[in-house]
Point group: D2
Chain length 477, copies 4
């Protein structure tokens, strides 16, 4: 297992195919370092006694101790442990722990590839298992690339006026394929060692070139990672805080005729399985959300409770009701994840699959409530969450004393603690990191809201429920 | 274990202390028979191969096979089985399965009494265990009596202008106590063998007489059960249906100086434990709701899906979204119950206690959504759910043919099936049974909505969440 | 203007074409009398000084004083007065005032017919104006018949496997037409003098026979009114109350080859105008809802406030918040009606048309919140709204004193007042009248929820809003 | 009336008492210029034929043409015009038009001061009218300063451990008073000519020093404006857009022993009237929200519709439903404002006062839905609202072509138009301006949510509604 220093050193060696503010940069750029903070926690805490029992596990292939983010879930307990790890790590990091991207990709492919081989005599599962061994051995971090740009949403992949709006194979060689296209919303891809690709949706017979899944190093020739960064408001050093020190790097990942060698390919043309790859990743990722969204909910709940305490309104009925509401959102989502783990089943490969309905109703409830949670925070935190003078004002010899005097609230809480608490609310509510990672990503991560409805409707025993109604109505047919 | 016939025969032998429409009646009254239907299912299906694995279990005291409704939960699996049984039985019965009242009372007391004995050297747990043996041996049905009339809600029990507004001890004798007061909203008490009583709330030192818990036969001298019945619209025989054949009997249960012998007493004056009895019942009962509310949700979901199919609107986007929403409500609540079972703990007596937070967020979500579910049913079912001509019109030689012609919808579904489906929606939405048992009871059963907020806030690690926020804000104090 | 006695006398003279419980009855049947109560208020109060200024106005055709329910709105003030009258009358009656059905039909046709004549040289508007004169002169009450049974919802009228699922012309004679079909959900049609018919939707060229509008006496040969009644729980006399004394009669109105004379026809085959008739009625009826739904909301608000007071919980934060919420629903809907009146426009005939967007957002908000309002009532009223012993128990020499003692709450409010307040909540929440008229009709009256979305989207200047966004985004095209 | 150039020139002459990033700056600072953009619109468009009819009116004191933002409303039409102006100006500006702060302060004081004079023989209304003349004559812009820092929220002003947590008089001189304290959340105060102060709440007899209202130049000695700025993401010039060019400057406004001359004082110690000043401003400001919130809602609706069109998902059912929902929120709030104007009344001074209940239910509905509207935008806009590569990436010779290719969607819409539309969504959802001005200010502006509940409950005829319920229940007492 790597240290965070080794991880950064490995990033530093990579080909500089990142683009920030229009310029080509390598992975020692300060924004990259800051953007890698949460991933680094997953290395740094792997031997911390508090986090180690969850953050590490034993590989079912090598028998070695590995980071859980590189593990293929083998049992209900694995799923429950992963969920708990995710919540705990998000609690600590202050938001999305990011490394689940690769983990969920690996698990999704692990559960899909063997079925293709069984039908078509291909060797995708072998490819995958060798890749997994390499991945675990090197304690790697992978970005997940699923969402295509999709062009005209009313047209299918093969009908696009620009065929590259879905990533596809443009050339087939004996030793591999060449792909072209662009994957978007690739969270943490700029700080990943590897990029793992799956189709974005079900594919039809005329879309074989779009039925492609593979993994490649994140600095492969032809790959261009166009970065969109999101950080909280910058602060002067004396008022810095863990939450203000993390960030998110999103990538528009362009595949400009990228070569993928055969041994790195996990699906290639067997179009009728493309949907499985897409849905499996979505399933594992939605299950991840049953851990991370409660983890982020905890932070919002804690911030609301803290500011209610500092302002001395914690005993007001409406504050208590709002806290009960925040707690309910988080714990219902978490409960759905527990149920998804408890009612999980095995794929043909042995991978443990969360229950689809529970994972989806959990993710759905989380997504439906993200902005409601932000609303509650804005409500209880009050106007200072938007109007708090920033750190340079606090440090000013001209007006710093005024700021200190007038951010003070009830007796016994220092000006600085008040400022810090309001600044946390301000970062969550008005900082770009908060809005990108908690707001928009909270709605769309793991699939947009309507996708969960579709997943639920597709997997639910609605006929069984209709039969119940028929029984009670006395309908025999 | 009793048969339903034995159960009815035992009811028939009881002292006639029921009052219906102002008249004293015994338990052979037709309304009582109809009102006992769902309880009878719990006897009749106990040896049905489909229901038996859930409906029966092994007594941890006698080692004999018993009805699960008389069981004290000993393991997480017991809680999970009870939850699943509850959903399945509600699915079949068409609503509240009712017999959980006594079961949840028994479990609540089982988990509270030993602690009193340990502190006070009393013998309540022994009393209870002997009673439990008798209860299981005779396969009894108990009503639960918790909610007092409460009089002036702004006054505590001991401060009421009428001291009887909370049930209390009015005389202490060597062989027992005499109690006076009235318990309300006692679902199924009119069809119960026994009545089990616990305090309605935490009690203070000056409220020792109110800290009383016991069990007595439902026809004990001095007990008066003033019945409020709720049935669906009556139907002519040829159009009858299982849903229209069940009913609910609620009791205002008056204790007019009722004697309770010592061996039937489970708490008597140890006021500081009164809250435990109240809250334990509430906890088990809220956990029951994580089974029954999804069970009722299933019926609503099925009815919506059936009517959407019959009217040929099932493919409309808004219908699918509404179904996804109904499913999400039911499955989130169910997931909360699974999590409450999975994260359960043991009381000192060995009784398995559902996790308080999960049980409460589940019950809370159910209660918050009951009327929303009815709304969705009304929406998709359409106006006929309120304006459908009833069975006598269908059977009329004068207009029956018109009714048949004009309740028909898409080709291939018979007039009768259409009528039956609309009639089910009509019963749920506009029948008294539907409104009492699905509507109002769905809001208040197991404790009114605000009580769940209180239970959540009391049991949640809010300080831990505040600490997370402090960590992220860089607050050291 | 008629008295209520004259109105009843006129009903009594009609041909007995009502069917109750499968039997043919005339309009002196006790259920009809009880079901006509709210209509009778509109006669009885027309010379009551408190109601007269709103309930009456001056005919723009005769210059005579008429009941406002027979008036064609001529100005914004007319619309505002009608809205206020509706709220006030619903406040008094305890629910839907019912007589707006005919009023909204008249107004809708008055605003549609002239345009047909202008294009086609027909004389529908003349027919209508003569009918209106007769209608006002005789102070008539009309039922509105719009909603067809619709059969297979996925098929258009002309494509139905049973062509009668939409009312249509089956024979054309020199002196009129013969129609066949069935209109449903015809509130108060059993107590109406006349039935006014409009198409249920937009019609296509092959649906000319379905493009038909007319008015006929409610006892015309071939008309059959199959009644579904909805009343509150029956009470013994000493505990009777105005709310318990009203009822609703819904009709499935069958047109079994009914002849309509030419002078009573307002549209006949000009299919491209059918939608106007349908939408105009909907528009006026949705505007009516901006008066009646706040009127019913007032009753719920008042009942919640009353029970909060009697139980002494009025000062609790959550109760106040719930009341604020109920008030907001009612007043937003009312405000939408005011805005619809204030921003109204004139049809070619001079009829004052409510603003479509405001009328629809108001009706939509009302419909979306009906079950929420019931939920709040159930929440604050508590379990007794479902378990209150009924009047025969109160009057029982055996248990009446218990009932009286135990429905008492805070000092200073009599047992009877407590019982009456809980009984009102019980009638609203669990009585058939409450569920039919407040619940289901609150969702569907004036058009089902999705219809309002469609009306809003069709009439809103969405392009204008898109242009605003383009301006701000710097998009020139 | 001033031009925008004169306005800026006047700002430039002021004493440099602004603090940005800890440094003292004058009002020619680039952030101030950018932050004054929306105020400048109110000058620049005053003679634009499209805006002039609303933006200007005739002074009731001088008879001269004045900017409506300096006007005291004299009629319902004035209130309706102001509401319409506010919506239209917000539509154009891209958010809060800001200048209503001073306007609402003036109107609030105009309606409160005369009553004090009548009781106490003071001359506050004279002072105010002279000030108003000066204000209109010079076409001034005023910031409103109401909200105190409040310190310990559980303590009243006179009980604070730091007495300065509410602004108060610390010295009384023959020619005026000296005040100390701090007002927060003072939107646009940094670009205002004047600051107008009112108490934040009702005051008690021991809080006379806190019962103070006045107006002073914004650069008065002792005044310190500590600025918090909020702008959208910066863009390179070729991709700039109106929405990206506006900003918000909030001020923590410190009164460090500021002298206020007698003629500028509008309340001074008459504590029993303090609440009127507070509530009057709140009332006018909440009425402003019934114009501005729909105006901002229009922008969100337009952006959603535009992106739905560009992505070709506009015909999907869930998109149409979401648009109908956004429209309903905006139009209900607007309708509430219309009703508040239509049902307005006159203060003793002749100032036209919006109806309190309608203004509050409108503002309340707006505030309850702000984050819901953002949620819908995030939902339909999709992930690019958070991950769109910014303008420097677009302009990069290295990756610009990729960005252009892959932000393209349906045929016929240019890459640039797509980028601009997504960038608008990104600014609203993830830019600081959007989050501060649309998000948090949308919740708290004009008073936090719970304040509206309080205002509604205080002004509503709840007794009247209880009486309706009593009538229907047959309760005579």
């Amino acid at each position: 297992m790597r240290t965070q220093e080794q991880y950064l050193a490995d990033l530093a060696k990579m080909r500089p195919n990142l683009y920030i503010d229009g310029k080509q940069v390598d992975r020692t750029h300060p924004m990259v370092i800051k953007g890698s903070q949460v991933i680094r926690y997953t290395f740094a805490l792997a031997d911390n006694p508090e986090y180690e029992p969850l953050l590490t596990t034993t590989s079912h292939i090598s028998g070695k101790k590995i980071n859980r983010f590189t593990h293929i879930h083998q049992s209900p307990q694995d799923l429950l442990d992963k969920q708990e790890m995710t919540r705990k790590m998000c609690n600590m990091a202050g938001g999305c722990i990011q490394r689940c991207m690769g983990c969920d990709m690996l698990n999704g492919i692990s559960a899909a590839a063997l079925d293709v081989d069984k039908k078509h005599g291909t060797h995708y599962y072998d490819n995958f298992m060798k890749y997994l061994e390499f991945f675990q051995e090197n304690d790697l971090v992978a970005g997940g690339a699923q969402t295509d740009t999709k062009g005209d949403r009313a047209a299918r992949p093969a009908q696009q006026w620009d065929p590259d709006q879905y990533l596809h194979v443009v050339e087939r060689r004996p030793d591999g394929v060449v792909v072209r296209g662009c994957k978007v919303h690739n969270t943490m891809a700029p700080v990943a060692d590897e990029i793992i690709v799956v189709p974005t949706r079900v594919m039809m017979e005329d879309e074989k070139d779009y039925a492609i899944s593979f993994a490649i190093p994140a600095d492969t020739e032809g790959l261009h990672l166009i970065v969109r960064e999101a950080f909280s408001h910058p602060r002067e050093d004396n008022l810095n805080a863990p939450f203000a020190n993390i960030g998110d790097l999103e990538s528009m990942t362009v595949f400009d005729d990228v070569f993928v060698p055969n041994e790195r390919i996990f699906l290639n043309g067997e179009y009728e399985f493309a949907g499985n790859y897409a849905l499996n990743f979505a399933l594992f990722h939605r299950h991840s959300y049953t851990g991370c969204k409660p983890g982020i909910g905890d932070i919002i709940t804690g911030t609301v409770a803290l500011l209610a305490d500092y302002q001395n309104v914690a005993r007001q009925g409406h504050v208590k009701e709002k806290l009960a509401d925040l707690i309910s959102v988080a714990e219902l989502v978490y409960a759905a994840g527990i149920a998804a783990g408890y009612k999980s089943t095995k794929a043909s490969s042995g991978t443990q699959m969360p229950n689809v309905v529970f994972a989806n109703v959990g993710r759905r409830h989380a997504g439906h409530n993200v902005y409601h949670e932000l609303n509650v925070l804005a409500d209880v935190a009050g106007g200072l969450s938007a109007t708090l003078p920033m750190s340079a004002q606090w440090n000013s010899p001209l007006v710093g004393d005024y700021v200190k005097k007038y951010v003070t609230r009830k007796e016994g809480v220092s000006s600085e603690d008040n400022w810090r608490a309001f600044a946390l609310a301000s970062d969550i509510l008005t900082g770009e990191y908060g809005q990108v990672m908690i707001g928009v990503a909270g709605v769309h991560g793991g699939g947009s809201p309507v996708m969960e409805d579709i997943a639920i409707m597709k997997n639910y025993d609605l006929k069984g429920k209709m039969q119940l109604a028929k029984n009670l109505a006395g309908i025999k047919t």
